[in-house]
């Protein structure tokens, strides 16, 4: 019963909050939809902290795609042994995780110590940074310490298939029951963080301007439909 709550109800609930909340905020209050940069107030520490954190997140995202979305059979098929995979995951994933944690801690300290930033930080801002540090910190612990000292846990046989089963609406929650506690906590805190996205500055992750290189440099826009309709 408990298993059903944590590995079926909770993930769907948090993802629903994330998706519906984001759409609602985009539609009703797009004026608040930004990447709320504080570079204008301080750029010395941001120069280190922000790229470290953001590039770390991008790497970590790729790592999660490799571990969670790509099935273990694929690796076996292309001939990547379990040892090779974990070797890469520990070093690559460990590096990405350390970048995220180090970057976020620099940004947090910066926010705490510089008046101009601290005074304008909201609860949501603190919440985002601190919960990111917690989630990423657990991830780093799992990747670097747990994997090397306790056991090289094969999450591609349990968490991976369970995660994919969420998307075909056939959640196999039983796969998660025997997963080590630290992995369970990482998954649960991560889903909680997803649910907070629409209410914090994290919404800017949807807004990566990847279409920018494709568009014309100069943008003309007509005030009315007169030209568009060609009346």
């Amino acid at each position: 019963m408990e298993g059903i709550f944590w590995w079926v109800i909770f993930p769907y609930l948090t993802l629903a909050i994330m998706i519906i909340g984001s759409i609602y905020r985009f539609a009703s209050n797009q004026i608040s939809w930004v990447a709320p940069s504080t570079e204008f107030f301080e750029k010395k520490w941001l120069k280190i902290g922000s790229p470290l954190f953001h590039y770390g997140i991008l790497l970590a995202f790729i790592g999660h795609v490799m571990g969670m979305l790509i099935p273990i059979e694929f690796y076996q098929w292309i001939g990547v042994s379990d040892h090779m995979y974990h070797f890469g995951a520990i070093y690559g994933g460990g590096l990405a995780g350390l970048m995220v944690v180090a970057g976020a801690i620099i940004l947090l300290i910066r926010k705490m110590t510089i008046d101009r930033l601290r005074i304008h930080a909201t609860f949501a801002d603190w919440f985002s940074v601190i919960s990111l540090i917690i989630v990423a910190g657990i991830g780093v612990y799992m990747t670097i310490i747990y994997n090397t000292t306790v056991v090289e846990y094969e999450y591609r046989l349990t968490i991976g298939p369970w995660f994919r089963s969420l998307f075909i609406f056939q959640p196999q929650y039983k796969l998660m029951l025997d997963v080590p506690l630290i992995f369970k906590i990482h998954v649960i805190t991560a889903f909680a963080l997803f649910a907070s996205i629409p209410f914090t500055r994290l919404v800017h992750l949807y807004s990566a301007p990847i279409h920018y290189p494709m568009r014309a440099p100069q943008q003309y826009r007509s005030r009315s439909a007169f030209k568009r309709k060609g009346i």
Partner: protein, 498 residues
Amino acid sequence: MRIKAQVAMVMHLDKCIGCHTCSVTCKSTWTNRPGTEYMWFNNVETRPGPGYPKEWENQDKFKGGWEYKNGKLRLKAGGPMSKLKNIFYNPDMGTLDDYYEPWTYDYANLINSPKSEHLPVARPQSMITGKYMDKPEWGSNWDDDLAGGSEVVPLDPNVQHLQEHIAMEYEKTFMMYLPRICEHCLNPSCVASCPSGALYKRDEDGVVLVDQEECRGWRFCMNGCPYNKVYYNWNTHKAEKCNFCYPRTEAGLPTICSETCVGRIRYIGVVLYDADKVKEAASVEDPQDLYEAQLDCFLDPFDPEVIAEAEKEGINNEWIKGAQESPIYKMAIKWKIALPLHPEYRTLPMVWYVPPLSPIMNHVTNEDELNTDGYIPTVDQMRIPIEYLASLLSAGDTEVIRKVLLKLTAMRVHMRSVNVGGVDPLSESKLLEEAGIDVETVEEMARLLGVAKYNERFVIPTGRREMDDDLYYQQGACSLEDLAPPEGVVTAPFERRN
């Protein structure tokens, strides 16, 4: 040919008295909300000086505008790919300290202070942090009327074109005012710098605007604009800029800075230009050719072919008539006495300046017998060095400035002979020949520059409401209510809205 109309401005610097009324009325109209305290859509700089933000003309620092390299026009700060790479940290953008920390005073203390031995004072209080500031150290016009000093002059990149001693020698010091707003360029680099596509140039009147819904706060426009006229609202985390008071111009009224200008230095009118020529004009190799290239983009509103083409593009009679009567067309295109600010940035700016005359440095000995031609050399001996004006207005081409100053001098001399007498008639002089104009033009110029009334200075056709999709839907669409506290609420410095 792709004809577009552009609402443009000319400022006649001779008449600017540096009173900052334009800045103040602009501020109280547009930027008196939390997050915008440091912004001045309109500011007046004393030159030589670092300007606002400090050293904005130093493009080695801010990397604003375009550059022409290897036969290609590109953003100086780098194209889209390099912007995506730098999106987490923009190395070229300025910070609040390049502008200044806005402050107010703790006036309440004057009233609430308990009885004490000393008079209570109103201490300066930061409008960013709400904390007391021991000493405000810079402001948007901190060096007002100082025009130099060994601390300030080296911060003016234009002075580097002069021999240093000219600016620093006491006898040779000079000063002028430079009021600045957004240039509403034909080739705006802020628009090209925006990853979200939130900045755009309006088809109908060429005003460059920021879509507040679409802006995601990537901040590349801030330093992408070489004039540093796009600002970052730290409260809403979005870009804001001068909008040419479009709610006023659409109603046929001048911008608030022009309306309230004490010296009546500002002129507003429509010019027609060929949008297909813009890129080519911005890509001429020699920066000194940019002025001429931009002039080539403009179209003659009296040419029947242009009129026919404009009508096809949906520009109506009122706008064509506006272009024909436009004071901007006369000053910038017909008489060529107005010049673009820093054409070398290749943005093709649309706020142009009539350079100021200044007193003659050398004593004129035989003034009583001075004939008209005697004024020709005076142009080269004016207190504001031609080189300095050229660095501001013609990418360093002194001949362009000299020509304009000759025209203005010819106008003065002629009007003096008409009104006071005492000099030989202008019509037979070499001054007129060198300036390249005729007496009729001189008199027309004198009228527009000296006595023109409101309706001659501001020829603004109204926005075309008949083209609007749905007026009911647009009701309140340009309101700042989402961004600003309701009117009448005291905006405490540390009060913020999400």
